[in-house]
Amino acid sequence: MISSYKQLTGRYLKANKKRSLLTIIGIVLSVALIATIGFFIVGMQQAQIEDIKNGYGSWHVSFSAPEEEIISKVVNNPKVLKSGMYQQGEQINIKKDLKLSPTIASGKALELLPMKIKEGRFPKEKNEVALEKWVLPYIGDNIKVGDNIKIQNREYTLTGILQDSVYTQSQKNGTMLLISDNIDRRKAALLAEVSPKTNLKNAVKELTSLTDKKITSINDKGQKIQIPSVVKNSLLIDMQGGGDRNSGLAQLYIPVGIIIGIVVVATIAVIYNAFQISVVERIKQFGLLRAIGTTPKQIRKIVLREATILTIIGIPLGILVGVAAICTIQYVFQVIGGDSVEWFKLSISPAVIIISIIVGVVSVYVSALIPAFLAGRISPLVAINSRTSIVKEKIKKKRFSIMGKIFKFEGALASKNIKRNRKRYRITVFSIVISVVLFITFKSFMDMTLNISDTLNESKNIHFLVQTNSSTFIDNNIIKNISTLNSIDKVYKVYKQYDFDQFIDKDKEIKAIKGIGSIYGRNTNINGQEKVLMNGSINVYDKAALQASKKYIQSGSIDIDKLNNENGVVVINKNQLLNDKTNKKYVGPIVGIKVGDEIELQYSGETSNTVTNNGQGITTRINPAQNKGKLNKVKVIAILKEDPFDFQGLQNGIKIITTEEMAKKLTGKNDIGVVALNIVTKNVKNEGASKAEIEKGIKSQPSLSLINYLDGNRKTKSTILMVKILVYGFIVVVSLIGSVNIINTLTTNIILRKKEFAALKAIGLTQKGLRKMIILEGLLYAIVGTIYGSIIACGLSYMIYSGMSGIREMIWPVPWDAMIIATIASLVISYLSVLSPLARINKENLIEAVREDY
């Protein structure tokens, strides 16, 4: 026995388990999504902070050559967490080509500097020292932390080993950390870290205003200049949220705001629909309660209590799912990236949890409020007059439509039905629109993000690079040898890059990028036709590389014979270039070119690129042609959507790929030779063995060098993979929220009309006919919803594009693929979601349904 009318709420929720569950799922998904995004952002911020601390140190403010007064003011400031002085000592020569640079510090300065202890701890006493690992073998054999070592006849205890720096290694100048009490303040700097308990922005302001003294420094050009003695660690301060509006963190808020906004709208839509439906469904019950004396306020309470119960269940679950999700992401990222990629640090921030809870609670109540008021306003008469539910509908008269012609009676009825109750029609279409908008907007946003980020192409699968250091070519025998090595899977030959003057038809220009000055050159008359000049490059691909390029075809086909016989070329129609005037990055096609179009080419010179030994920098040598070659007409036989291999050459011209034979023809040169080899090994685990084999293979040509790409490419690949996982993870969750919404609305739509369907069956509509009618109704809703949704989503997508092109310039891609997916998905979901209530109706006794009360 219940003890209060309020318990009706619980009864109702239990009696409608399925829908309560759907609503809870909606809440859980939304809260989880918001929490996960929050955790992720905070995690990224943490990782960035860590990164900056490693690179620049954890100090916030530094004072060069500070006065005694300032030192005492800073050190004794309660807002300062850690402080200390440091100075560079004189270099110590250890061996012929090895020096040590001591950093002498007092207080806690060592902890504030960008030094990372790998083993042990920072020195604390005068005779203690910390050194980089690579230095140790120069000092003595088998040195461990705790050992006593001798440097320049002085005894030290080694308390810590520092992480190696590439820079110090290349300079052969090791870092050495020491502690001293007598630091000359005129040669030293005072570092201070602000306590996390105070407001960073204010504290930094206070500290920097302590002095406006200038010190003399020497700039790049060797001139003496005056610079302020106070320096802020702006990168760190910005990332920790103490910066101003233009800081990096502030820019992060915009996309995050858009994403959370979309999620919140979706949540409100799902929950609003759920409540609206649950109220409409019980309209008679509320009417009855009103008739026997329940006040509107009490009715509102009943509905809002439902919201409260669902919130109490849904939100903690959502937070838990969010935590689980972020832990899973962390785990997956660790598996993919290992230690090499760390742009996200797991942190379950209480602020994020609180914000997610607030957003969740607010959205649930906002969405329950309107239905609650609606329920409160229900007239008691509704209860008495059982006919009202049909009579009150304003039925729009409509002629038999196309649907009727195609799908006979059932189709006609379906098309009449969906529009006959304006409110229900709106709710249903609205829920489909919301889902479609969500999906398309989100996907197109993500696609745009992915488009401007790095792409995963064949270059990322390269393990080793062999290149010539001089202007000679790689010997053909060596190429043959390496290709036949056991451990080698594939060898792609890399040629020089050949630059050309390219002439295209005037109508092939893309209007949107005409403003970027460096693309389209002067108009030129060629054989009586007005053409536009562009400067571009040709990359020569061998058979294997052309084969691998087939994956990237957008239109046309790649056939070596056709390339050679028909003066054929392949065009990569996606360029990345910088607009000098606006300083924005443009990503997208550079000419409106099709397969079969012709381009006029005139050879203008060659360029060769050499990769520096650590695989990072690239040196470029340009040799302009002595005299320009003759004009050749080439035909585009294929267009690629991405670079199959990182393109070498000009980004502001048409990026062309062709064969060795064609290159000879176009340049008029006979010596089109191989300057580098991209090598893919069979087994990545045998890195060492493969390396040894290749090294042996290239020994006969001393100008060749081997570069290991494994680590670098592994890192890039895992980063791209992580971004994709994130992007598609979010899309999946957003789609789920959308689906819950559609299922909820369509299911109820049918259940509410049970009686009507029973009547139709009673007068002779077969179950098959009913099924046809209901399914058609569902599909009609889906079509209408998708059309409206696509239009709205395109608008939103364009808005996001406008926002993003503030940073990067690109052409807005109409989200066709997202629209197609959304259309198919909403049709399928609509179809599936009417099946279960349909089965329910079929099982029910006809007579009972006809007579049923509500």
């Binding site: 008679k284 309660l289 008739a291 004396g293 006040t295």
Partner: protein, 237 residues
């Protein structure tokens, strides 16, 4: 003693061409303890009249005074509370809450007042209605007659001074109909309640104290069939 007084009651629906005058200038007085039956053809306005009397719908003009209180002077909130405490309703389509069992459905009006349910009285009603065996059943597990008895129980719970019944037997077979009417009469007498009932059934009208006929929104006849419980002797008024 007057329990219900209706003064110049009018109700119109719609506007312009669609304007329907459902009630025209209805005046009526009902004394305490009377059993009044309202008869009329479908569309005559009898249901509208009952809704007006019971405070379910607002009249276009005129007054309804129950127990000395002019109910349409009240705002929605107050009116609902008045209905809850002073009026009992029995509907044609029993209108029980499907998620509550028999006992809970009957106790509902008290629960809305956040009152403790008077268990003795509740059990007395259940016993009286012969629902003891079915106390914990859901409405869907009951026959039509049983469901209607539950709704009578609900109407009785707050000891209202007046009960309105809108075709309470319209959905029942003749055996159940008789049971329900007997029960209504019996309880009305037992608790000294006024009973206003709408029906098509001549036999029910025959057993009433007073029969009011309504046509096109006007009272066309108002007859006392026999002595009322208080012994009023006005025939053929």
């Amino acid at each position: 003693m007057e329990i219900l007084k209706v003064q110049n009651l009018n109700k119109t629906y719609g506007k312009g061409d669609n304007r329907v005058e459902a009630l025209k200038d209805v005046n009526l007085t009902v004394n305490k303890g009377e059993f009044v039956v309202i008869v009329g053809a479908s569309g005559s306005g009898k249901s509208t009249l009952l809704h007006m009397l019971g405070g379910l719908d607002r009249p276009t003009s005129g007054k309804v005074i129950i127990d000395g209180e002019s109910i349409y002077d009240y705002k929605e909130e107050r009116l609902a509370i008045f209905r809850r405490r002073k009026i009992g309703f029995v509907f044609q389509f029993f209108n029980l809450i499907p998620v509550l069992d028999v006992e809970e459905n009957i106790a509902l009006p008290a629960l809305m007042d956040n009152d403790k349910v008077d268990k003795t009285y509740l059990n007395e009603i259940i016993e009286l209605l012969g629902l003891n065996e079915r106390k914990n059943h859901l409405p869907s597990e009951l026959s039509g007659g049983q469901q209607q008895r539950v709704s009578i129980g609900r109407a009785l719970l707050n000891k209202p001074s007046i009960i309105f019944a809108d075709e309470p037997t319209g959905n029942l077979d003749s055996k159940s109909s008789k049971e329900v009417i007997d029960l209504l009469k019996f309880t009305a007498k037992k608790y000294n309640q006024t009973l206003v009932l709408i029906t098509h059934d001549i036999r029910i009208a025959d057993s009433a104290d007073r029969v009011i006929s309504i046509e096109d929104g006007r009272i066309t006849s108002d007859k006392y069939i026999k002595f009322s419980m208080e012994g009023d002797s006005r025939y053929d008024k």
